[in-house]
């Protein structure tokens, strides 16, 4: 990460040349996952605002992440309930039936 920052800072706003784009590309997914530190986040955000190429790349990844997150489903409520009851029985020192053993 430090090396990345040095590369960005060393070539500020030079028409978004390859060095900047390559460096951003190395951390782009971590940035989109919210896993970059504050300084890197600021630098990458500024670059994405200015660079069409990297901006498009970021948009594509955002669409992928949004589409995948859309498939997140809550587990079946009845299964959750059975397991909660089973857990409570364990906590109370009761043996309890096996949940879901139908």
């Amino acid at each position: 990460m430090r090396r990345f920052l040095r590369r960005l800072i060393a070539r500020p706003a030079e028409g978004h040349g390859t060095v900047d784009c390559v460096a951003v590309g190395q951390v782009l997914q971590r940035y989109l996952d919210g896993a970059t530190d504050a300084e890197t986040t600021t630098l990458v955000a500024a670059h994405l605002d200015d660079c069409l190429r990297c901006g498009l790349e970021a948009d594509t990844y955002r669409r992928i992440k949004a589409a995948l997150a859309h498939h997140r489903q809550p587990p079946p409520p009845d299964a959750v309930q059975r397991l909660r009851e089973f857990g409570l029985q364990l906590a109370r020192g009761e043996g309890g039936p096996r949940p879901g053993s139908v």
């Binding site: 997914q29 971590r30 996952d33 896993a35 069409l52 190429r53 990297c54 498009l56 790349e57 594509t60 990844y61 669409r63 992928i64 992440k65 949004a66 589409a67 995948l68 997150a69 859309h70 498939h71 997140r72 489903q73 809550p74 587990p75 079946p76 299964a79 959750v80 059975r82 397991l83 909660r84 089973f86 857990g87 409570l88 364990l90 906590a91 096996r98 949940p99 879901g100």
Partner: protein, 179 residues
């Protein structure tokens, strides 16, 4: 359930709130609702047996590690030949939650192409996408489930997404970012 919080056991405090997450992850691992429920049950029993040794920090990570061990044991018992192939189905993705018709932000065509592209990823790559991007685990939590370092989760995830992106480029569903 009017149990005073101060009277709840450590098991109730730390374990029971994580049941939903455990069940979602178990479904990703087992590809089957009934097996997932059994796996979480095993996990609860193991957690209960080990609660006295748990320091109270990071209960989800602790439980995900237990779940992984329970899954490996069950897998070894039932299908030893598949121990190294933790396949994850994405069949259900096409049926899942059917894209909400009201959700204007999800491009149905892109979604369908992503489902196809996911199905073509090798199992370790599909699984990490399932855990992080679909189930919403952090890198560290996915690492606990998979028994690999967070850096490995990151690299697998990034490579998997890059393949999905390439697929969208090839099918014209995402603009190529060429200069």
């Amino acid at each position: 359930m009017n149990v005073d919080a101060s009277r709840r056991t450590p098991f109730e405090q730390h374990v029971l709130p994580e049941i939903e997450v455990l069940l979602r992850v178990a479904r990703a691992l087992t590809r089957n609702n009934a097996d997932a429920e059994d796996l979480v049950q095993d996990t609860l029993i193991r957690a209960h047996n080990g609660i006295d040794r748990f320091d109270g920090r990071h209960p989800r990570a602790w439980l995900l590690t237990i779940l992984r061990h329970a899954h490996i044991n069950r897998h070894r018992r039932r299908r030893p030949e598949l121990l190294r192939d933790p396949d994850v189905t994405f069949d259900r993705i096409s049926q899942a939650a059917g894209p909400e018709q009201t959700d204007a932000f999800v491009d149905l065509e892109l979604d369908a192409e992503l489902v196809r592209a996911l199905a073509q990823l090798s199992p370790p790559f599909r699984l990490v996408v399932e855990l992080v991007d679909i189930q919403g685990l952090s890198y560290a939590e996915a690492a606990e489930v998979l028994g690999v370092p967070p850096g490995t989760v990151m690299s697998r995830l990034h490579r998997a997404r890059a393949r999905l992106r390439d697929r969208l480029h090839r099918t014209g569903l995402a603009p190529r970012s060429q200069q």
